[in-house]
Each structure stands twice: as C-alpha cells, then as structure tokens.
C-alpha cells in the first residue's frame, strides 16, 4: 500500500504521508467548519521518530487549527478525554492509541462526544 515511502529507515528524508483527516460531532467548528481535510504529514517528528498519532495531533493543532481554544482539542498534552479517535473505522484503542504509526492513505476521524443536543 505504501511502497513509495521515500529512502527508508534512517534515510535522509522521507516523503510526507498523505492522510485523510475528518472532524465530527462538533469538532469541525475548531477546524474552519470543515469536516474533511487532506493533509501531508512529515514522515518523521523533530527527533527523527516515525510519525505517530501523538505527533499528528500536535501537528494538527499547530498547522490546521485556526481556533485559539486549543484546549478543546488537546488537554494536558494529549487528546481531550471525550474525543474519540477512529483509525480506518477502528477505535484507536485497538490500534495502540497515541503510539499508532500513521500510514499513507489512513483515514483518521476525530469525533467529539462532548456536545449535547
């Protein structure tokens, strides 16, 4: 699926990872009122580790989120409890949560359970 992932392992540089990011359940308000986003995520974080969900959410917070109320998405350094994360339809708890290494083409959905009706 993701064979063209750049000059590998300790490689000098890797191609960015294409991801489909979706926000739902009220979170879209924090991201320009837009549900679907396609992003290119750097393949490695600043310390050279492969990109995982933790890196992704900080990246989203810094680069995609225009709203200043960052704590509605990130709280105490992690995703705000009450926000569900689905990785290709699966609960992120089944995929290793923050440690999951994102793959090219992944669909990652963030759903807030916090908004009433």
């Amino acid at each position: 699926m993701n064979e063209q992932q750049g000059p590998s392992a300790n490689g000098v540089r890797s191609n960015p990872i294409s991801l489909n990011i979706e926000f739902s359940g009220g979170l879209e308000i924090l991201f320009s009122n837009q549900r679907d986003h396609r992003i290119q995520l750097p393949a490695k974080d600043s310390s050279g580790e492969p990109a995982n969900i933790m890196f992704l959410v900080h990246y989203l917070c810094e680069n995609l989120m225009k709203d200043r109320r960052k704590d509605l998405f990130l709280l105490h350094g992690g995703i705000r409890p009450g926000i569900l994360v689905l990785i290709n339809d699966a609960d992120w708890e089944l995929e290793g949560e923050e440690e999951y290494l994102v793959q090219d083409g992944d669909i990652i959905l963030f759903v807030s359970t916090l908004h009433g009706g």
Binding site: R80, G82, D89, H115, G117
Partner: protein, 362 residues
Amino acid sequence: MSPPLHIPASKLCESCRATRALISRPKTNQKLCKTCFLSTFEAEVHATIVSTTLFTRGSRVAIGASGGKDSTVLASVLKTLNERYDYGVEFVLLSIDEGIKGYRDDSLETVKRNAVQYGMELVIVSYEELYGWSMDSVVESIGKKGNCTYCGVFRRQALDRGAERLGINHVVTGHNADDIAETVLMNLLRGDLPRLHRCTSIITSSTSSPIARSKPLKYAYEKEIVLYALHKKLDYFSTECIYSPEAFRGSARTLIKALEKVRPSAILDIVRSGEAFSRMIPSQAQASSAKLSQESGMSNCTRCGYLTSQELCKACTLLDCLNKNRPKMAVEVEAGIEDEEASSSLRRGMEAMKLAEEGIVN
C-alpha cells in the same frame, strides 16, 4: 473498508470471530465488529426496558427529541426494538423550540428529517407560543448570564405541556450513563440526598408533574452512543447552544471523562454506586423538606394551571420578572429545577465551584 484477506486473530471480533473488531467496549473491554456491536448495544437497551417493565403494550410514548446524538440514537433504537420485539408502543417525537436562531432552528431541521426517517409523528412546542418569550428575546432582555435557568424551567413545563397536548403521560429522554454518573457525583458533593435518591431511577414521576420521565439509555455509555450513531450513519446535529457554549467544560464532566480514560468501567461503577446510595438513604431524607410540605400542598398555578406548591408556578414567576423587565430570580430557582434539567444546569452551576480540575486530571 475491511481488509480483504488475512486478519490476525488478535484483531478479530471476540464475539463472532469472523470479522475485524472495530470497537473496544468501555464497559467490558470486549472487542467487537460493527455488526456485533450494534446488536449488543440494542440487546442491552432492550434488557433495560424489559427488566424495568418500562413500556406497556398499546401505550403512546413521547421521545424528547433535540436532534442531538442521544435523542437521535434513542429514537432509532426504540424504533428498531419496537419492531423487533413487538412492544406494541406508539412512539411520537416531541421537540421543544426554545427560539434560538442559528442553533435550535438548525437542530429542529434534523428532527424533522428523523421524523421522516423513523416514520414517527413529530410535535414541536415553542417557548414563544407557550410563554410569549423566545430565548432570543429573553437573552435580549436579561443578557446571557443566568439564561440557562429560564431555559431549564421553561423546558420542563414545555415537555409536559407538549405531552399533555398529545394525550401522553410518559416522556423518554436520551440521558446516558455519563450524564447520570455526573449527576450522582454532583449530588454527592452537594450532599443533596433527595436528588441523590432520585437521580438514578430509570423512571421518575414527581409531584410537580403529571407526566412520567424515563431514561432507557441510563446504562449506555456516551462513547457507545456516538459510535452507534456513527456506525449506523444516523443523522444528528452537534453544535453547542450559542448562549451556553462550552457548557461541557464543567468540572464534573471533565472529571468523568478523565476517569473513563484511566478506567473505562468507572462510569458504570459510579451509576451503580449511585443506585446503592439510593437504597441506603433513609426514607425521611428521600424527599426534601420543601417537597414534604408540598405533598399535601400541591395545587394548580393560579395563572396557568400547572401543578405547583406555590401560588404561581416557577415558569409564571420567571415570566413575571421578564414582563416587569426586572430579572432577579436566577439563584433561587436553580435549586428548584427537577433532576432531568438539573443535569445540565447543575453542570453550569458547578463550573463556579472549580473542582481543582488540574489537580485531579493530572
């Protein structure tokens, strides 16, 4: 969607062992595929309904519908179960139009679509027609501060009046396990034994209302409700009320969610503890002293006829203030709101208490 060929055993549904697991259940840690999750969720709501003999054949029951996730899932599940197990109940959607432009008008569009999708009658009762005041005009008059109090008092009566109009004496609401756990914690912290006693009951009938309220989703996690809506692709609305945005940042809610993160079963444990507390509360403490004196003294509001212990009911008292353009009632009324509305209005009240959130969450 699902990977075609090889699924490692560790990724299989623990129930059917045939498909990839997509859900990790907070109650049990069980890993389920979409189909098994949906049917387990429905079976559990059915078990709650049957074990409490919530419905009687031939009755009409109103679903308090806001267009939000909880009431949308409730309507969908009740329709499914009514057909599957032949409850013989006629469900009707009952919505309240508080008159908040850019919020409730949008969510009511969702309810209108739901009515078509579920083939249910829909009745909308508005504050404007009942009280002559929409929330937009209330806020214009008194400002945003304290407006939730008005909305809460008005809503309880509005649901009752809507049900009455339909000739219905039972309203089900979408309150979930997270809501109940939150209310249990808050009533415990406030030392409010009468409310602690009542808040876990699946069905409440109060002296101040002829209409029974029940919560078929009281054991359902908010997480599973959202996942149910998501996997069933239900049409729901999820925007915050413009007059009380971020009400969910209240400390008790944050605490509940933080507990769930550490130990998912905590939410249900708190609900069960609340039920156990309820059984331990001596009967003389089950009703507040105000309530006790009310038991004999309930009468009809001299203005609108609603059941009340005073000469004027709470809504009429608030309306008097509004009409005199002299809003002063906010604090006093807070304590009188019944359980259902208390969940959200208490939440807002608790924000002021600041449960040392940082310390607990870290």
